[in-house]
Each structure stands twice: as structure tokens, then as C-alpha cells.
């Protein structure tokens, strides 16, 4: 479904990605794990074309999207939930959710209201705060709003960037359960996490990034049981 080939990204003199290849198949949860500065966020940003690529090709459903502008990438059906939530603080919760539908031009008014209802079932907390400004929500609620906003356009692929960052353990668990539910609904998930243990438990396959290179890949189980991964990322 998504194929990344030889992706190279440089920030000035610093190379953030040194030619990585990976692929995401339909219906999978794929996770990229790695420490700080490994290039995880850069990978997602360059798929969405928010940072310029030095080299490489990105193919989504047999279409070359390497050079599409950011908003056109979204319209192919790729929803990107950015790191740090990036919700619109002065828009209400409902308006924030509606911004999530701009990426799918085929949605009718009815689809949008159906999806709103669906989100309120998935996230009852958002329903209570539907007219409140996005900036007044707590961190966990903001993260839920960001994910809900990403789901509003019925994407084929949803890319989640550190959804557990800075959240209480109980909310983290809620979010991981939610990711499994998203998968059951037939969406494909590309998940980036520092919380490698949780991510590998739910992932079908995973890739380990280190200083801009993919150093290892395999199924979630394989990686969880791998000696090097355990030592570097799971703290055993």
C-alpha cells in the first residue's frame, strides 16, 4: 500500500535519514521505533511532504506521491496525526473535528455528521466538550481530539506520531486499545512510538531506526524477543 524507497532527508549539513526503505501493507499496524533523533518524525514529515526530501521515492497505492504538496498527499487518503497534537486551540472541538474532513472531498454533509457521531461514541469525553475551545482541553483530551480529527476523513492510512507522549499510563493504554480498534475497522496504521514495548505488542511488523538507518525489521513478536531490541529499547 505504502512503499518508501531509499528516502534521504538532510537538514542543512545534518543528515536525518540516510536512505531508508520500508513498506506498509493494507490492514497492518506497522511501527517504527527508535530513540530520540533517530529520524522517526522526519520519516512521517517527509511522507506528508512537510520537509523537503533530498532523494527517494514514496509510492502510495501505485501512485508516486513523492512530490505532491502536503494538502494533496492528504487527499490521497493519508491522514497524519502530528507529534505534539497540533490541534487548533481557538477552534471549538466540533470545528476541530470538521477540519479533519477537508482532506476528503467526496464526503457529503451526512457522512460528516455520521462520522461526528461515531467519534463521540469512540470518545465520549469529546462529546461533553464539543463547544469548548480546543486549547482548553487537557493533554489527554487533546491527543484524543487529534486522533479523532485524523479519523474524520475516513483515511486509508493513518500515521500516528507519538500518540502516547506525555500522557498518564492509563490514558496510554486507552489509546493503544483504540489503535487496535482502528485496525479492526479496516484502516492501516503507521505508528511511531518511543514506548517500544507497547507499540511492538500491538504491531504486526516493526522497524527499528537508529541515526537515520533502519537497522532491523521483523514481526512485532520477533522484535520484542530480540536481544538487542530488549537491551536498547525495552530496558531489560
Amino acid at each position: 500500500m505504502l512503499e518508501v524507497k531509499n528516502l534521504i532527508v538532510n537538514y542543512g549539513y545534518i543528515s536525518a535519514l540516510r536512505g531508508i526503505d520500508f513498506e506498509v501493507n493494507k490492514g497492518e499496524i506497522i511501527t517504527l521505533i527508535g530513540g530520540n533523533g533517530a529520524g522517526k518524525t522526519t520519516t512521517l514529515m517527509s511522507i506528508s511532504n512537510l520537509v523537503p526530501k533530498t532523494d527517494g521515492t514514496i509510492i502510495f497505492e501505485d501512485k508516486d506521491i513523492t512530490h505532491l504538496p502536503a494538502h494533496k498527499v492528504v487527499m490521497q487518503g493519508i491522514s497524519h496525526v502530528p507529534e505534539g497534537r497540533k490541534i487548533f486551540p481557538a477552534l471549538s472541538v466540533r470545528e476541530n473535528l470538521i477540519t479533519g474532513t477537508f482532506g476528503n472531498k467526496k464526503m457529503t454533509k451526512k457522512d460528516i455528521s455520521d462520522n461526528l457521531e461515531k467519534m463521540f461514541v469512540l470518545f465520549p469525553r469529546l462529546k461533553e466538550r464539543v463547544n469548548q475551545g480546543g486549547g482548553t482541553l487537557s493533554g489527554g483530551e487533546q491527543q484524543m481530539l487529534a486522533i479523532a480529527r485524523g479519523l474524520m476523513m475516513n483515511p486509508d492510512l493513518i500515521m500516528l506520531d507519538e500518540p502516547s507522549l506525555g500522557l498518564a499510563p492509563i490514558i496510554v493504554e486507552e489509546i493503544f486499545e483504540l489503535i487496535l480498534r482502528i485496525k479492526e475497522e479496516g484502516m492501516t496504521v503507521l505508528l511511531i512510538e518511543q514506548n517500544a514495548a507497547m507499540a511492538l505488542q500491538i504491531a504486526d511488523r516493526g522497524y527499528v531506526l537508529e541515526t537515520g538507518n533502519i537497522i532491523m525489521s521483523g514481526t512485532g513478536k520477533e522484535l520484542i524477543n530480540d536481544e538487542r531490541v530488549r537491551r536498547s529499547y525495552l530496558g531489560d
Binding site: 504538496p69 486551540p89 481557538a90
Partner: protein, 291 residues
């Protein structure tokens, strides 16, 4: 007493024009995210567009509104292409200086094309007076207030009730996140900039009708006044900017009434300085948000 009441009415109608200029200004700064100094010239072009429409076609008010809005809209596209489009990732002083330079260019071109002298503005409606409790209000003042209120109501509805308005506000809050939502940020920013310019253009026409004259260099002070009106309102808050414009208009006219007409512009700027000393964030309340 009646004299001061009349000056208050004058101040309100002039303030309504400043409010329209400031609404346009706040819209531009909000969506583009950068301060502009071309607004005065946009206002001037709007006034001249209406002037030529009145002179060559008909002295019809709606024609005037449409031509001044359209002409300023087109100028807005040029300003966007020249001053903003390539500079979103540059240091902020670059587009700022670019707008200053571009405004000089337009001002001087206008003097060449339109002639440097003051011209009389045709009057699209007959001047009449209505007596309300001993205060004489003229029809132009009523017209100004009606037009300003209806334009700002339209803007408010578009901004808060339509999908398009959500798009515009999203872009003004976070351009990168908006792009991730599938919003064409460049186009939305340009149209937002053009809406602000169009409103400024209509304000220019109203001002020319109010003073019954038109001049290529009228933009300088007006641009500054729309700037200070929106600074009073906290720069991007549209209703507060409108209030700021009205306050500036009233201050000017009451100041003129108590002291002298030659200090007209001084009152506005002294008022701004005083407000900024007492309340540096302007008269608006900051929208609360977690960091």
C-alpha cells in the same frame, strides 16, 4: 452640548470607516501571520476604483462597492504574490520591509497614473439631513454605518458559520497542521488576504465619499490608522479591532471639538500610546490555551 453630541456622531461614523479598515487589517494579519504596511495603498486604490466607476459609468453606490472591493481584491493578489508567497519561512522582517517598499511603489505609480492633485469625489447619494433630538445627522453618515455593519456581519457569518470560515481560521492558527488536514494553505492565505484588502478598499471609497475628495497620497495616514486600530484590538482579534477603530474615530473627533482640528492625527496616536502604556495587550481578551 449639541455641538459635542454632533461631534460624537461624526466620530462614530468616521470610526465606523476606521473599523472597516481595521477589520480588513486584522483579517490580513491573522491569516497571513505578518504585519503589512500596504493597507493604506489598498484603501487608496479602492477609493480610486470607485471614483472612476462613478465618473465613467454611473453614480451608483452598489457599483462603487463592487468595483472598489474587486480592485482591492486584485491588488491583494499582487501583494500576496510579491510580498508574502516566497517569504513564509524567511525571517519576519523581510516580508515587512517588502510591504513597505511595495506601498511606496504603488503610491508613486498612483501619482503618475491618477495625477498628483486632489480631485472631487462624485457623490452617489444626495446629501440630506435628519434631525434626531436636536442632533443633525446626514444621510452619508447613516449610509456609512449601515454599510459597515452589513459588511462586518457578512464577514462574521462567513467566518463562524461556514466550512470555509473554519478553513480560514485553521490556517491563521497553524499553517503546518492545516496542510496536514488537506487544506490548500497557500490559496486560503491568499484569499484571506484578498478579503481583508477588499474590505479596506470599500472603506477607502466610504472615506472619499465622506470627505468628498480623493488624493493619491491619502493612504499613508489611513494605513497607519488601520494599523493602530488593530493594535488596540490585539492585532488579530477582528471584533476588538473594529472597536479600536471606532474608539480612534471618536477620540479624533472629540479631540478636535475640544482643542483644534490641526491636531487631528495627534489625538489618535496619543490615544494609542496611552492605551498601550496602561494595557499593553490591547483591549481584547487573549484566547486561553494550554502551551
Amino acid at each position: 452640548m449639541d455641538y459635542y453630541l454632533m461631534q460624537l456622531v461624526n466620530g462614530l461614523s468616521q470610526g465606523a470607516i476606521y473599523a472597516l479598515m481595521a477589520i480588513g487589517y486584522a483579517t490580513i494579519v491573522g491569516v497571513v501571520g505578518m504585519v503589512t504596511f500596504t493597507h493604506g495603498e489598498v484603501i487608496m486604490i479602492g477609493a480610486y476604483a470607485a471614483f472612476y466607476a462613478f465618473s465613467f459609468f454611473a453614480e451608483n453606490l452598489f457599483l462603487g462597492i463592487i468595483t472598489s472591493f474587486a480592485a482591492s481584491w486584485l491588488l491583494g493578489i499582487v501583494i500576496y504574490k510579491v510580498c508574502y508567497e516566497r517569504f513564509f519561512d524567511s525571517p519576519r522582517h523581510i516580508p515587512l520591509i517588502c510591504t513597505i517598499g511595495f506601498s511606496m511603489l504603488i503610491k508613486n505609480l498612483a501619482q503618475i497614473v491618477f495625477g498628483p492633485n486632489m480631485k472631487a469625489m462624485p457623490q452617489p447619494i444626495d446629501l440630506g439631513f435628519i434631525n434626531v433630538l436636536g442632533v443633525r445627522i446626514n444621510t452619508i453618515q447613516i449610509l456609512i454605518i449601515v454599510i459597515v455593519i452589513s459588511l462586518s456581519t457578512i464577514l462574521y457569518i462567513v467566518n463562524s458559520k461556514t466550512r470555509w470560515g473554519i478553513q480560514l481560521r485553521a490556517v491563521s492558527q497553524d499553517k503546518k497542521a492545516s496542510a496536514l488536514m488537506g487544506i490548500n494553505v497557500q490559496r486560503t492565505t491568499m484569499i484571506g488576504n484578498c478579503i481583508g484588502c477588499g474590505l479596506g478598499g470599500v472603506a477607502g471609497m466610504l472615506l472619499a465619499i465622506y470627505y468628498q475628495s480623493i488624493l493619491p497620497t491619502m493612504g499613508g495616514v489611513l494605513g497607519l490608522k488601520s494599523f493602530i486600530s488593530s493594535v488596540l484590538g490585539g492585532l488579530t482579534n477582528i471584533p476588538a479591532a473594529a472597536l479600536g477603530g471606532i474608539l480612534i474615530g471618536v477620540t479624533e473627533n472629540l479631540g478636535t471639538a475640544f482643542l483644534s482640528n490641526s491636531y487631528r492625527d495627534v489625538f489618535a496616536f496619543v490615544f494609542l500610546v496611552l492605551v498601550l502604556i496602561i494595557k499593553p495587550e490591547g483591549i481584547s481578551k487573549k484566547v486561553g490555551g494550554r502551551p
